[in-house]
Amino acid sequence: MTEAIVQDPRPLLAVLVSLVAAVLVVASYRSPNVREGWTILAAVAKFAIVASMLPRVLEGTVFEWTVVEILPDIAFVLRADALGMLFAFLASGLWIVTSFYSIGYMRGLDEANQTRYFAAFAVSLSATMGIAFAGNLVTIFVFYELLSIATYPLVAHDETPEARSAGRKYLAYTMFGGGVLVLAGTVMVYWLTGTVAFTAGGIEELASADPGLAMLAFFLLAVGFGVKAGIMPLHQWLPEAMVAPTPVSGLLHAVAVVKSGAFGVSRVVLDVFGPELVFDLSLPFGFSAGLVLSTIGAITLTAASLIALRKDHLKQRLAYSTVSQLSYIVLGLGLFGWYGLVGALLHIPAHAFMKLTLFFCAGNLHVSTHTDYISEMAGIGKRMPLTMGAFTVASLGMAGIPLLAGFVSKYYMLIGGIRMGAELTPVAYYLVGALLLSGVLNVAYFWPVIYTAFFEAEDDHDAKPLVDFPMGGERRSTLAATDGGRAGDDAATDGGRTGDDEVDESDDDEPDVEDVVESAEVGSDADADGADAEDTDPEIPEDSDIPDAETDDLPTDEEGVVRPDFDTSDRDFSEPAERVDTGDYAVDASPSDADVPFGVGRGGAGSTGSSDVESDDDGEGDIDDDGTVSDHDARHADHDDAHHGGPPPGGWEHLRGLAALRGRESTWFTLAPILTAMSLAVLLGVIPYEMGFLELIELIVDTRLPEEVARP
């Protein structure tokens, strides 16, 4: 492969197009339609620019454009080589999908500050392109920092205390990774070699530099980029950042931002140090720098999978899944050999498609039903068949089922690991073991979601033993009892789950955990206790006196609940996790830590933050409590007050056949992106070459490996 370097401004254009779009988005803040138009236009234009470079990059051309000499001997240079193209092509393509989804999601939830959201999103994508096309360490550092800054408004979007705290944490972690470690590593590389330019196969001078210093530089850089890729001791920011709106979690915290970390690591391994040097930098006990990197990856992926098992909040579970899957990439990059590297790089797009699908599904559940917790999802499959279907496909892919994207990449990595174990060092076998184990764990944490969605009913399902219930499970129902009359039977035992205002009231009975929520809802809850009597449904068992729940006229009919309620302006996952059973299980007395990140500890903050939002609801709450409830009001209050999901009274509506196909479960703004992302995941599993990714990756790896380990 000859690398023909072509001077061409297209890499720069790809960066600039969304920066310009950000300005236009801000300028047209008065008109949402124009504003979103710019976003879509920029997304399409960006993808077109990137795609226009793809054919020639596949032939080995490198597009390069030097903007300015930012430091002496260090140009601010953008170059689109195969590795950069891989990431840029992926991120720009998925931005189109995400843009549509964002529109559906943000409008569906009637979010505040949408202009800032779309502008920051566009800037983030610029920074991502910059990272992809950066031609040296300083340029990548510039965009890496810019990405941290641009993503911060998205994480802190809600302006609630926990969003701010997540934003703070996010900034602190990424700045530590970027501003401190990456900068230190860059400075060291510059000091050792006098250059920071990316060179396929590694900067030569580094091989002759002092091994100890080179090692230090390698780990500074690898860990610095690894922070964004969520390697284990430094992964904490990622689950917290899930307070961001779901499209952000989807594109940025599953694709662009975290992948920029993984991409940075691959740049460091492939283009700064070179795979050979990374393997040769040896440490005691038969380890090398690359193996240490892989080991960190292996530990992270196992531990993160185990944590994911116990997360009841769906986005949290996905976040830990992300942490774990990103470590595949890091692990694969440490494997010295053709297969390992191909597998690692292929996992970048593979994971992107699958995780994007999963996050979009989680977001869609949130928009349409306000359900965030897995324990509330029993039977949700019939309400949202397409969404949960896509979810199933994507999670199967995660687990590495053949014909799906995840299989191909894992397959390559396994071969790479085994070959390395056979030829070079037995340590690699442990890595293979970790890979296999994590496949099992993947099944273990995704299967309960699918199982509960499709094979259980809301009024009769098992508790999920690993989440927060006794081993062996518990039969119960999340279905709202529609009248108090059934208080005694098993539906009633599970009460509390039903309508959302009941949930709130149930909180009253558990001051330790949830009272903060109540205190915020002054209006409706001041009389909540009194209202208990009239307004209540089968209450928490401790309230076993539940006097006359019959007087409650919560809507029992379907039409009250079917339509997604779009005027709610709350984001419910900011609230403490609502227990499925608020009463008589031992676990409730001593809650497990399963939901801590969004749960107990943060409840207080959550309630104050949403207080003004909730104060809006007070009016309705009052009406409610005064007993003048119309069906409409009740339903409204349901979704508004309620920060909790779960099936409406009467159970999930069952969408069948045509209704489902017509997308009645949600809007096509969200459904289409879900299905697109899912199809891409399937396609990548079936025809990886035709999609361009595998071809790109083979090109990348071929140009960077020395002869003796080149493609078999």
Partner: protein, 528 residues
């Protein structure tokens, strides 16, 4: 003939300083035009000097026609031209700010012109004793300006600064005296020659002299153990004065430190005296840590950024102590960049204080919605201070850390390595307080309807503290009301200046190569 500009640039503002007072007897409000015309002239002069220096090389002027070793010499080289330019530009920009938010009196403008003249003098002089005189002119006018608020608190802050500042200048003078004893000359260039010829770098007099000089400057710059005057002075001074003082006064002292260290004592002296260098590095490192730590704990905005100056000048002092060519370049870039950034930050805070009464961090809650441009500029400047590229803050940090790593790698000393780590980690320290401000500005989650009520309350509560101060200050120093702008708006002209400052700070981030090529003659001469 360009060399005549040097004495003129010093003399004209000092002479012009008498005009507002003299003409003030006849005309009202004559101060601002006089100051504006003079400052504009200075900007032109600085531009001409810089052009000459960067194209044709350094030049000097012998005052009164006496030859240098005896006569006083004014020197414009690559370093002093940069500081000269910074001084005049920031002074001019401050004038725009003070026009809008006060003080506006003739006395203020007289002091302002004196200060500018003194600052230009500091940056141009080539004589050790002359430097002392200009430092004192700068000091005296700064004390007067800080007290321009006419409140007891500002007088106390000013007196505190006066005592500490005078001790600093006096210690510098003692150091100069020692050097004079050893060498018998005061001309900088001559001293650097005579030190070698007559004394040698390990001569106790020379060592003691340098130690006194460094301690004197540390007091003036406000490095950590001796910084305590600075927060009070910055907080109590009128907003425009804080802007000017924060951007230039400590900067001038730090410039003088670089000048004396490298042009007079030279890098060989540092190499020959490890103990002194280590001491400087320790103080610098502790300054960075302590300054940032104290800044995080403040809730008054001006105090917060005052402590931030302690940390940032720690960085400059570190660059001086590292004695590496790259680090010194970083030090100079950071010196200039910090001047610009602090000007912008204090200018932005002044505007928000004038428009919305925001003096404490919590007063900023969600102000970004009402004052998007001022908030945006503040955010950009703050991030630049953190060292986010592309910005001049990043450039400075890059060079200083590169130099630190290089010298730590070369010597392997514990202090060097620790200092390199501190410099690299300073991103996080700075971020800790900048993020607080940005978060309040943008993500407080406050409905501005509520917030305005809240701010009004705060304003009243906090206003009592400095209420009398400001009122009195306005009455006397301005001869008019200080907050002429309608509440709830930000005056336009200074806003434009502020946004321009933010853009310049970002734009300079791409000018690394430019900085290096411009300063290269100076650096290669110093490190010859």
């Amino acid at each position: 003939m360009t060399d005549v500009l040097l004495p003129l640039s010093i003399a004209v503002p000092i002479v012009a300083a008498t005009l507002p007072l003299a003409l003030g007897l006849r005309y009202e409000d004559v101060g601002w035009p006089v100051a504006a015309v003079t400052t504009l002239g200075l900007v032109g002069s600085a531009a001409a000097v810089a052009l000459e220096v960067y194209t044709a090389g350094p030049f000097d002027h012998e005052l009164g026609g006496y030859a240098p070793p005896i006569g006083i010499e004014l020197v414009a080289d690559e370093l002093s031209a940069a500081v000269f330019l910074l001084v005049t530009l920031v002074s001019a920009a401050t004038l725009v700010l003070s026009r809008a938010i006060g003080p506006r009196g003739n006395a203020f403008h007289s002091a302002y012109l004196l200060l500018t003249g003194g600052l230009v003098g500091v940056s141009l002089t080539g004589d050790l004793f002359n430097l002392f005189v200009f430092l004192e002119i700068v000091g005296l006018t700064t004390y007067a300006l800080i007290a321009a608020d006419r409140s007891g608190a500002s007088a106390y802050a000013s007196l505190k600064y006066l005592v500490v500042g005078t001790v600093g200048a006096s210690l510098y003078l003692v150091g100069v005296g020692y050097v004079f004893l050893a060498t018998g000359t005061l001309n900088m260039a001559d001293v650097s020659v005579q030190i070698v010829e007559q004394a040698g770098y390990t001569d106790p007099l020379i060592r003691a002299g340098y130690a006194f000089i460094v301690v004197g400057f540390a007091l003036k710059i406000a490095l950590f153990p001796v910084h305590s005057w600075q927060p009070d002075a910055y907080q109590r001074a009128p907003d425009s004065v804080t802007t000017l003082v924060a951007a230039l006064v400590s900067t001038a002292s730090a410039y003088a430190l670089i000048r004396v260290t490298y042009s007079v004592f030279t890098v060989d002296f540092l190499a020959a005296n490890d103990a002194i260098t280590t001491g400087v590095l320790l103080v610098a490192g502790v300054s960075i840590l302590a300054g940032s730590g104290l800044a995080v704990m403040q809730s008054d905005l001006k105090r917060m950024f005052a402590y931030s100056s302690v940390a940032q000048f720690g960085m400059v002092a570190a660059a001086v102590g590292i004695a590496d060519e790259t680090a010194l370049l970083g030090g100079v870039v950071h010196l200039v960049g910090h001047g610009l950034m602090k000007f912008g930050l204090f200018c932005g805070l002044a505007l928000l204080a004038a428009g919305y009464g925001a003096r404490r961090v919590e007063d900023l809650a969600s102000l970004a919605r009402d004052a998007p441009f001022a908030s945006g500029a503040l955010a950009v400047l703050g991030l630049s201070l953190v060292g986010i590229p592309p910005s001049v803050g990043f450039l400075g940090k890059w060079y200083v850390s590169l130099g630190a790593v290089r010298s730590a790698g070369a010597t392997g000393g514990v202090v060097g390595i620790a200092l390199a780590a501190v410099i690299l980690a300073s991103t996080l320290f700075t971020l800790a307080y900048v993020a607080r401000v940005i978060e309040q500005l943008y993500f407080a989650g406050v409905d501005r309807g509520d917030a305005e009520r809240g701010v009004a309350d705060h304003g009243d509560a906090g206003g009592h503290a400095d209420g009398p101060a400001r009122d009195a200050g306005d009455a006397v120093a301005d001869g008019g009301s200080g907050d002429a702008t309608a509440p709830g708006t930000v005056p336009t002209a200074p806003l434009v200046v502020l946004v321009a400052a933010a853009l310049v700070v970002v734009g300079l981030g791409f000018a690394g190569a430019g900085f290096e090529s411009l300063l290269d003659p100076y650096l290669s001469e110093v490190f010859a």
